[in-house]
């Protein structure tokens, strides 16, 4: 018995020592510095001068936004964040997190993102983010502006995004984007960063055919489905929720090679509710040609709202303005790979109401 007890004691003691050794090894392993990741910071922003005329003429120097763009990669894992310091309606800067994404690249045909990202609707929304340097024009087309600027689409989504590209032999390639996200909030400029008010998720699919000839041509379609828990402009004062079913169908054709700049996009947005239902149609064509550092460009855009707006779009800045078309033309001068100067003139013509004309100068930077 004594011998057995001794054996048991040794076995127990041995197990304890092994366990301590294992835990220590693990702790030491965790404490050891992780494999260095490539962390990068970039700065984007712009300063502008705008003269506008709608009955009266106004002119303003503007310092509208400044952005810190950070990325980090470690093997197939990557991180991206876009922190924006943006001027709001009160003329003061406020901080806004525009994108926070964690991605894992499994293969060219499958990449997974989690976080807050630009919704894969049409072409413009996730091709051009907040840095104005990359845009040919001074501002985004009205229809794809951000939520707080009156854009028609849910520009940002919080959820899961998967994308990838499949080769189609000599024909070219097929790119897909699939998203499951929280969807819209109670009012148009709310992004559901933390709470999904109605638990119902938004589903989005975009498909693009990229033919091998002409190289660079993109032909895409998309479909987005969501259920919006719409309230009045003040959800506390007007808490009644009207459920609005939203369906967005779109098509785009883009060619950005050989110094040619062509982006054309069309969207049909269907809203269905007990109060009002209707379809909004919107589209634009933006074209330009680059001669060395100079790119002359022009854009035509048209937005048609239904005659009776649903409770959600009735709070949208463009919805309040009503149907309109706009034209603009300008010149972009690429000073260096970090600085672009733009001079642009344009006019917005609403179906009812007076026209707005403007001339803008922009100095956009990307360091």
């Amino acid at each position: 018995m004594r011998t057995r007890d001794l054996q048991r004691w040794w076995v127990s003691w041995g197990r304890a020592v092994a366990a301590i050794a294992a835990v220590s090894t693990a702790v030491v392993g965790l404490a050891r510095p992780a494999r260095a990741a490539d962390v990068n910071f970039n700065l984007y922003g712009d300063v502008d001068y705008v003269v506008a005329h709608q009955g009266v003429t106004t002119n303003s120097f503007q310092s509208p936004r400044f952005e810190i763009f950070s990325t980090a990669t470690e093997g197939r894992l990557s991180f991206l964040a876009e922190t924006m310091f943006e001027v709001g309606g009160d003329n003061a800067f406020a901080v806004d997190m525009e994108r926070v994404e964690v991605s894992y690249l499994f293969a060219d045909w499958f990449r997974l993102h989690l976080g807050r990202f630009h919704t894969a609707i049409g072409y413009y929304n996730d091709a051009y983010h907040h840095g104005r340097y990359f845009q040919t024009t001074v501002d985004r087309p009205e229809m794809v502006r951000f939520e707080d600027e009156g854009g028609l689409t849910p520009a940002h989504s919080v959820g899961v995004h998967a994308d990838g590209r499949f080769g189609l032999r000599r024909a070219g390639s097929l790119r897909y984007d699939v998203e499951i996200a929280n969807g819209r909030g109670n009012v148009p400029d709310e992004v559901t960063n933390l709470v999904d008010h109605n638990n119902a998720k938004a589903y989005n699919l975009r498909l693009r055919f990229e033919p091998s000839f002409p190289d660079g041509l993109i032909i895409g379609v998309n479909a987005y489905f969501d259920t919006i828990p719409a309230t009045g402009p003040d959800p506390i004062a007007m808490p009644a929720v009207t459920t609005v079913g939203e369906r967005i169908y779109g098509a785009h054709l883009v060619y950005l090679e050989n110094n040619i700049h062509l982006i054309s996009e069309f969207l049909r947005i269907e809203h269905r509710s007990d109060v009002a239902s209707g379809n909004t149609h919107a589209g634009f064509v933006e074209a330009g040609y680059t001669f060395g550092s100079l790119t002359p460009y022009a854009r035509y855009e048209k937005v048609s709202f239904p005659s009776v707006l649903d409770p959600f779009y009735a709070q949208n800045k463009l919805g309040l303005r009503g149907s309109f078309y706009s034209v603009l033309a300008g010149l972009r001068y690429l000073v260096s790979e970090n600085v672009a100067l733009k001079l642009e003139g344009g006019q917005i013509t609403p179906v009812t109401g007076s026209k707005t004309s403007s001339v803008s100068f922009q100095c956009a930077f990307a360091f």
Binding site: D38, T73, S212, S293
Partner: protein
């Protein structure tokens, strides 16, 4: 006279045939040589890490690698682009031969793809020697260097042939 004429005609015909054969051989040889050689004629070449099994790429494939459309190699994982400074000849060659745009325009395009999250930020190499070193240290790296710099590549770095 007639016999002499016939002889002359026969010899000139055979000479023509020989010349035609030689010409055809030169054309076929040149075509084959141009189809799969590093662009020595342009004095710039692509280099890769020796662990990377890729042997050859077309201009379209090169463009896809440098814009994040192709994100991985089949055997060494994530693609890492190594670029020279904006005013470097190797960057000018890449912009002209592969992208067919000005270097500034190409760099803006690459920067935009990084901003979109489509590719990781390129490594900037101040000199061809730095580019070679970056490729040696990174299995997924690809860079353009002058052909002279590629004549004596260190162990761990190899040429990546450019086809059409």
């Amino acid at each position: 006279m007639t016999i002499v004429h016939c002889n002359r005609s026969a010899s000139s015909r055979s000479r023509r045939r020989a010349l035609a054969s030689l010409w055809a051989a030169v054309v076929v040889g040149a075509t084959l040589a141009l189809a799969a050689t590093p662009c020595w004629a342009d004095d710039f070449v692509f280099i890769k890490n020796a662990k990377n099994g890729a042997a050859k790429l077309s201009k379209a494939e090169a463009k896809n690698l440098f814009t994040g459309r192709t994100k991985t190699w089949s055997d060494v994982g994530v693609v890492t682009v190594v670029l020279g400074p904006e005013d470097s000849p190797q960057l000018g060659w890449l912009a002209d031969k592969v992208f067919q745009v000005a270097p500034k325009t190409m760099l803006t395009k690459i920067k935009q793809e990084v901003f979109k999250g489509e590719m990781k930020k390129p490594i900037t190499a101040a000199s061809p020697a730095e580019a070679v070193e970056a490729v040696r240290n990174n299995p997924g790296a690809i860079a353009v260097v002058p052909a002279d710099a590629a004549k004596s590549l260190p162990a761990g770095v190899a040429l990546l042939l450019l086809g059409d």
